[in-house]
Amino acid sequence: MNAIHGISSELSCGVAFSLAGRTCVLRSDSAELRELIRPLVRSDLPSGFTLHVKVDSALQEHTPGRAHFRGLHHLAFALFGDELFVFDMLRSEVHAAVSLRTAGHREFWVNTLFPIALGTLGTTFGVVPLHCACLERGGEALLLAGPSGAGKSTLAVALAKTGFNIVSDDWTYLCQDASELVAHGLDAPVKLLPDAIQYFPELESQSARQSLNGELAYEVSAEVFGAGTRRDSRPSVVLLMRRVEAPGVELRECSPDLVRDYFERSAERLPREMVEAAGTRARVIRSVAELACYSVECGGAPHEVAASISDWWRAKR
């Protein structure tokens, strides 16, 4: 092989850590990476994926903000500059060759790589990524779904300011273990588009930067807004939101079919070969559609919309 970097990713040292209710394993020759996942160490959960990371001193750290993704059959590839990640759905494994600096870059692993790994491989071990925010209050959660640009993250932050805890603002990881549906979030930052600054003065001290999908966005910790967070919760309600021009909030019960259709069409198509994973996803989406489903048309300032939804939630409970 005409390889400049011949990289073997056969690595022996394994550390178990938890992610979205699953035990994952890191095998790496990077002491920095093993150290930074120490807060996540736990091994009493069902199995997730194994992450093999080899540090190659010849590689340069990638420039943040852009990646190249491709996939065929059970394999998916992500190139961050010259740094390569291979996601293997058949074996629930990730193999990576990274620079020394990337290995020790906590934000990259927590904010970028772990969400991508769960998004790509999760359905193979029962963790189904769904495009929705998740907010918890009083031990129950609502899933806030809607197309990109509908304002899910903005409304999630506004709801957090009324007392909800943020589980996730964009992608939520659903598991159905022993018939119980559990929604998990990661410690990923809240992503807000630049126009959110008109509603949240906390963003004035932050910088917007290019995110993975090319959008300019603020990516900030929920703590910036004084918001509480939760790692997981039991969802009981789905809100399918749509932004309208007129101010106000209109909530109505909606058909489970509408919710099921939204989630089935908003997730990337799985490879045809991954029949079991497709079955897992379909089963979890069916369970989500069996929750109390509402459509919500909302317009006007997010804090006013959040106040209305918060009042409705309190009255409902």
Binding site: N2, H5, I7, H52, G71, H73, D82, H95
Partner: protein, 142 residues
């Protein structure tokens, strides 16, 4: 209240590109069932193969996508190897993986990669990956 129907699910990774151009070829002792979306790529590979050969149960499935959205810059090859996988990249322009357990070679080649580069760089990489299957017959039929 009505919601606009959602469009079809996205295919951001280009997993579901149709591959209507097909041939059964032989490279060394390895028979390869080639599927691609590019007639030109198929022709180039056909010219470099030993012969046309009917597929058999130990054929290697090779699916290659000519990718209109990949970058044009071809970098020096870089490989990542595990006990069952070999992945070779030449920047975003060329990404090829061989899975010896399931006997598949899967890859993306940027549309702007010239026939010369395909001939002199990509096909030699493919031939080396195919040769790995000749050396590893343990997974036949898996």
């Amino acid at each position: 209240m009505t919601f606009t129907p959602m469009p079809e699910p996205p295919d951001l990774m280009r997993r579901h590109v149709a591959t209507p151009h097909r041939a059964e070829l032989r490279f060394g002792s390895v028979s390869v069932k080639l599927e691609t979306n590019s007639e030109q790529l198929l022709d180039l590979l056909r010219r470099c193969s030993n012969e046309e050969a009917p597929a058999s149960r130990d054929s290697v499935l090779c699916k290659l996508i000519k990718d209109s959205e990949s970058g044009a810059a071809v970098k020096a090859p870089q490989s990542l190897r595990t006990s069952e996988l070999s992945v070779v990249t030449c920047g975003e322009a060329v990404v090829i993986a061989a899975d010896r357990r399931v006997r598949e070679v899967l890859g993306f080649i940027g549309e702007q990669v010239t026939p010369d580069v395909v001939q002199n760089l990509v096909i030699p990489i493919l031939c080396e990956l195919f040769a790995e299957f000749a050396a590893d017959t343990s997974a036949v039929g898996v």
